[in-house]
Symmetry: C2
Subunit: 135 residues, 2 copies
DNA sequence: TTAACTGTATTAATATATTTAGTACAGTTA
DNA sequence: TAACTGTACTAAATATATTAATACAGTTAA
């Protein structure tokens, strides 16, 4: 499904969270799409199932996925969840990164170009009303 | 000088790096301004000098400060260093954060407003030609 | 020159965080 | 029923961060 850097200073479960977020954000994974089970993904990546579970738990806490016992873990309809806390976080982080970029010599024009690029690369995923029952 | 969260999941030395970067980026610390010595800052913050040293080493590697044995550590003229690698990093990080923000519902207008806000908050520091000798 | 400062390096011990391993339980699906 | 799913828990192993103590070399000012 994707590659990990087992030698990275960044914990594996964090890499997993980041990578899965990317896939969800860029609509590579559709709404309600089933993620690999913790055991299957663990085997594919040759890491412990507990590590996958930790990543999935974090993604669920942040509202990106939801899990149903016995069924699996699925991509969430993000708008259904309260993500105001996440928005605040990402905005604060963005301000720091923007300040750093400006300091390093990146121009405002370049920053605006980045926004345009990202916005165009994010293709909208179609809506789909058939969702797994959540209990 | 500033406060740290010793209970945070984020390592102390990383908090130090981030905080000092902020101060440098926002011109709270002027070019060639002397930072507290590793021992003094360690005492002020009640942490080990080695942890300060680790943060300073990282800041030096990223080009934000330079250190002279026997003299001290000083804020760098960032433009004198090759920061293209740092620029590439921060741009990549920004793209991820922008994608996440858009996904969470932040509008492009809000993103552009963020840039304006940051740009206005960063007051330009005056140039100063008297620098410590680097050897 | 001396005393007190500076950065830097190294080793060892400790503390904390991450990952693995193994097991168990409950719900789902065919 | 058999094989899947998420979830929880404890224990052990591993990796990382932090502290502690010491040492060495360059700088500064008395």
């Amino acid at each position: 499904m994707f590659e990990l850097d087992l030698r990275s200073r960044k914990p594996i479960y964090e890499q997993l969270v980041d990578r899965l977020k990317q896939l969800i954000i860029n609509n590579v994974l559709d709404k309600d799409e089933k993620l690999p089970s913790v055991r299957v993904l663990a085997q594919q990546l040759s890491i412990n199932p507990n590590t996958i579970q930790k990543a999935y738990r974090e993604l669920e806490a942040q509202g990106y996925i939801y899990s149903v016992k016995g069924k699996g873990s699925f991509v969430n309809h993000i708008m259904m969840t309260d993500n105001s806390a996440e928005i605040k976080k990402v905005k604060e982080q963005l301000k720091k990164q923007i300040a750093e970029a400006l300091f390093l010599g990146v121009t405002i024009e370049e920053l605006e170009k980045l926004i345009t690029e990202v916005e165009q690369s994010v293709t909208r995923g179609d809506q789909d009303d058939s969702s797994p029952e959540r209990h």
